[in-house]
């Protein structure tokens, strides 16, 4: 047993793991979820790294406030961690935490922050990777209008970077169905975007 003194505080952990390749999921999401369930904090840190742009984007899209979005995103990941054991299909962690974020953002306590129209000045001034760009927000708004099943497919396809065959495997749907649904989701997204832009 690690001879740490039995105190509260932060010990050696995955606290500051930034060495990750979020867009290139070398380790499948389901493996990271499984390891996180076994108590491996580093794996959960990798999951946070992989989905934080999506989660922040969803939160910002709902709240329009940088600080409030960060608060909600943080709460979403912490809640997701606590409820990880309830996630039936670990492969859909991304869609699941995005859905959770949207739900949290709808709570009255989180909506108290003023919704401010998009303005570059309101973005994080230190940001080197702005995630709250206008066009991204419009895509997220459109994404939010999709039915949950289609939204899940979109996230698995583009955020997780899975191909249709992999999506078919993790969602246990026929490959042909998945291909059709992705194509339909893209079309609906495009139509929705036109509506948003108008």
């Amino acid at each position: 047993m690690c001879p740490e003194p039995p105190l509260t505080g932060i010990g050696a952990s995955s606290f500051g793991v930034h060495g990750r390749t979020c867009g290139n999921p070398v380790i499948p999401t389901q493996t990271l979820v499984k390891r996180a369930l076994e108590g491996d904090r580093e794996s959960f840190a990798l999951l946070v790294g992989r989905y934080e742009r999506l989660v922040l984007g969803v939160a910002f899209n709902a709240l329009g406030n940088f600080h409030a979005a960060q608060d909600v995103a943080q709460e979403a990941f912490v809640t997701a961690y606590c409820q990880l054991a309830t996630l039936r299909n670990p492969a859909v962690f991304g869609p699941w935490v995005a859905q959770m974020t949207a739900r949290l953002a709808r709570k009255p306590k989180n909506r108290q922050a003023p919704h401010i129209p998009l303005n570059p000045d309101l973005q994080n001034p230190n940001s080197t990777t702005p995630w709250d760009r206008d066009e991204v927000q419009r895509v997220l708004s459109a994404l939010n209008e999709l039915p949950e099943a289609l939204r899940t497919l979109m996230i698995l396809r583009y955020v997780d970077g899975l191909d249709s065959a992999e999506i078919a495997r993790v969602t246990r749907r026929p490959l042909g169905t998945v291909t059709k649904l992705i194509s339909r989701a893209l079309e609906r997204l495009r139509i929705q975007l036109v509506k948003v832009q108008k």
């Binding site: 505080g9 996180a36 995103a73 606590c82 409820q83 990777t129």
Partner: protein
């Protein structure tokens, strides 16, 4: 602003793909999320104890959340949460920069504990009252701990090691990096309350002026296992230097009990240099070192924790580090473990267990989920470190009876084969008078102790549970989760170098499993015909005169459960110990004393409906204890 249209699928796809790209350190909320998990000791599956050493199968072992601790971490823990709650003159970035500029941080507590952290390489040391100390060496990826009671240093390599990150070519210790938060612009003192599944956490910020110093004060409160809010920590930061100066923290239940107070305080200082080894903390020269570093794959995972963790993981063998750990064991040991794992997976999961040993009787109820026994088997095979993956892996209740009067006569006699009259025992058993009553409700752990003939009662409620097994497993499959490193150190049957003192020939039909550490040697004789259970367990301890037999335990009775699972129903045990006494002349002399006794075990397989009503109900358990006048402690 006129938004540019997004109509082409290619552009749309590009934007969608960008949602999966990593954020830069200035945008990332990762440190905040991980700091929260660390601070709250949150676990997705009721905690994890990665240790496989002694006691994994001990039903008496309940591990409360033992949280990590570090010097700067104390500051970080609060400040990470408080990124928003800075006041004029004190921002997160300023505190982080101030700490990072220092060479060594030093924290001295009023219970005589000291902690040091080196900002350059993350070196981390502590020393406690009594001389116990610890050194984490990030250069060699080792952890050395000194136990003055054992008089030895134990050297280990943790299986997961993440000490910091590399930025601009420099590796920054984790503790410092945690302070590198994006600056924030909310400067109004306020209170923040976070509510999650099973905890509430709040932080308040205020300004204090003390002895001419202006200090930012952060007060953190959190919910205990019973939902009560407690002030758990206060941190003071000098508004002028931006460095933490003082911390006060609520001790854990055991320390609160031991010290007779609720909080302890620590004072920070920042030094030019600090200790670099255990000798500098006062460990005597020539102290023996117990090297528990084993050459398995898990260790290689630590070699460069600062680089891409995904790539490191991807480079692991397909069968994983735990299987590799099994592979280092003698083949006979591997066969015993594989056999035991197979039988454990098939063992019934709803049980009533009655144990009788000398003057103590214990009644237990055990109910595990179907998956849990399979997971336990995987744990034996070193495929997983923690079997309790599910939200409610198992439930367990036990109560003992240590009374000397009013005990039915048939319970005083040791008979190896007779059927214990369970109906009569259940009717008689005083469930409300146990000295030790123990409940795991699947989520929390409850320990009730009645002291001084039940004149005082104490209840400990702890968040979380650890892997556990029905009590009989402790004896018959103890070897199955024994520390892998120690099993690999135990000499296989063919090596007879220590046979004169320790070894003996055992029947060819039995398997031999051995373990060896500096002051303890174990030997188990495993019977493949009896579900790979140990038919004999021998223990030697190292004392001043050399190795001495400490315990010899033999299975003398067996029973089979419906479905065919075997268990040891009777044990014959001989314990030896060295006693120091005064002789007729008043001189101290050592003598060896031996005691022999038996243990009976009676297991009944139950159906779900057979369990006593509310036997695993934690809420009712607490209510009853409070009604009895129990003093309640929480984690």
């Amino acid at each position: 602003m006129n938004p540019s249209p997004i109509s082409e699928n290619t552009e749309l796809e590009t934007i969608l793909k960008s949602l999966g790209q990593p954020l830069g350190p200035d945008d990332s909320i990762l440190p905040r999320v991980m700091a929260t998990l660390e601070r709250q000791a949150l676990a997705p599956a009721a905690g994890s104890d990665r240790t496989r050493a002694l006691g994994l199968f001990s039903h008496g072992r309940q591990v409360q959340a033992v949280l990590g601790f570090s010097l700067v971490g104390v500051a970080v823990a609060l400040l990470a949460w408080l990124g928003f709650f800075t006041s004029p003159g004190l921002t997160m970035a300023e505190v982080a920069q101030a700490v990072a500029k220092e060479k060594w941080a030093h924290l001295v507590y009023d219970d005589e504990m000291e902690v040091w952290v080196c900002m350059d390489d993350g070196r981390y040391l502590w020393k406690r009252k009594g001389g116990a100390c610890f050194h984490r060496d990030p250069v060699h990826h080792t952890e050395a701990s000194y136990d003055p009671a054992l008089g030895q240093i134990t050297l280990r390599k943790p299986d997961v090691w993440v000490m910091g990150v590399t930025r601009n070519g420099k590796t920054i210790p984790m503790q410092v990096d945690a302070l590198q938060f994006p600056d924030v612009d909310r400067k109004t003192p306020e209170k923040k309350t976070i509510q999650a599944k099973d905890f509430t956490f709040s932080v308040e910020y205020s300004i204090e002026h003390r002895e001419g110093q202006s200090l930012g004060r952060f007060d953190e409160s959190r919910q205990d296992a019973l939902g009560q809010m407690h002030l758990t920590r206060s941190l003071w930061v000098d508004l002028k230097t931006k460095l933490p100066v003082r911390v006060r923290e609520r001790m854990n239940a055991a320390d609160r009990e031991k010290e007779g107070r609720e909080y302890r305080e620590g004072t920070y200082s920042f030094l030019e240099t600090g200790p670099v080894n255990l000798a500098q903390l006062g460990v005597p020269e020539g102290t023996p070192v117990q090297n528990e570093v084993s050459p398995n794959v898990a260790v290689t995972r630590m070699l460069d924790p600062y680089k891409n963790a995904d790539a490191l993981r991807a480079a692991e063998p397909k069968d994983g580090p735990e299987n590799a750990a099994l592979a280092v064991l003698p083949s006979e040991t591997q066969r015993a473990l594989k056999g035991a794992a197979d039988k454990i997976a098939k063992f019934p999961r709803n049980l009533r267990i009655f144990e009788l040993e000398g003057g103590t009787r214990q009644l237990s109820y055990w109910s595990a989920s179907p998956q849990y026994m399979k997971n336990l088997a995987r744990q034996v095979l070193r495929e997983v470190d923690y079997a309790g993956e599910e939200s409610r892996p198992f439930r367990f209740f036990s109560v003992d009876n240590q009374e000397s009067s009013g005990v039915p006569e048939y319970l005083w006699e040791f008979t190896r084969d007779s059927q214990l009259p369970m109906d009569r025992i259940l009717k008689w058993f005083p469930m409300d008078r146990g000295v030790n009553t123990h409940l795991v409700d699947g989520v929390k752990t409850y320990r009730l102790t009645r002291f001084n003939g039940a004149r005082a009662t104490q209840l400990h409620v702890l968040r979380g549970i650890v892997s556990g097994t029905p009590p009989p497993f402790d004896d018959q499959w103890e070897f199955a989760t024994w520390n892998t490193t120690e099993l690999s150190a135990g000499k296989p049957r063919s090596e007879k170098s220590d046979s004169e003192k320790l070894g003996r020939d055992i029947p060819a039909n039995l398997l031999l499993v051995r373990s060896e550490r500096a002051n303890l040697k174990m030997e188990w004789h495993i019977d493949p015909q009896k579900d790979f259970a140990a038919v004999r367990r021998i223990q030697w301890r190292k004392e001043t005169g050399g190795w001495r037999l400490a315990s010899d335990q033999r299975a003398v009775g067996w029973k089979q459960l419906p479905g065919g699972a075997w268990y040891v129903s009777a044990w014959h045990i001989t314990d030896s110990m060295t006693i120091t006494k005064k002789n007729a002349q008043g001189a101290l002399v050592e003598s060896e004393e031996t005691s022999t006794y038996g243990r009976r075990v009676e297991i009944t397989v139950l159906q779900e409906a057979d369990f006593p009503q509310a036997i695993f109900d934690g809420k009712k358990f607490v209510e009853k204890a409070v009604k009895e006048g129990a003093k309640v402690e929480t984690d």
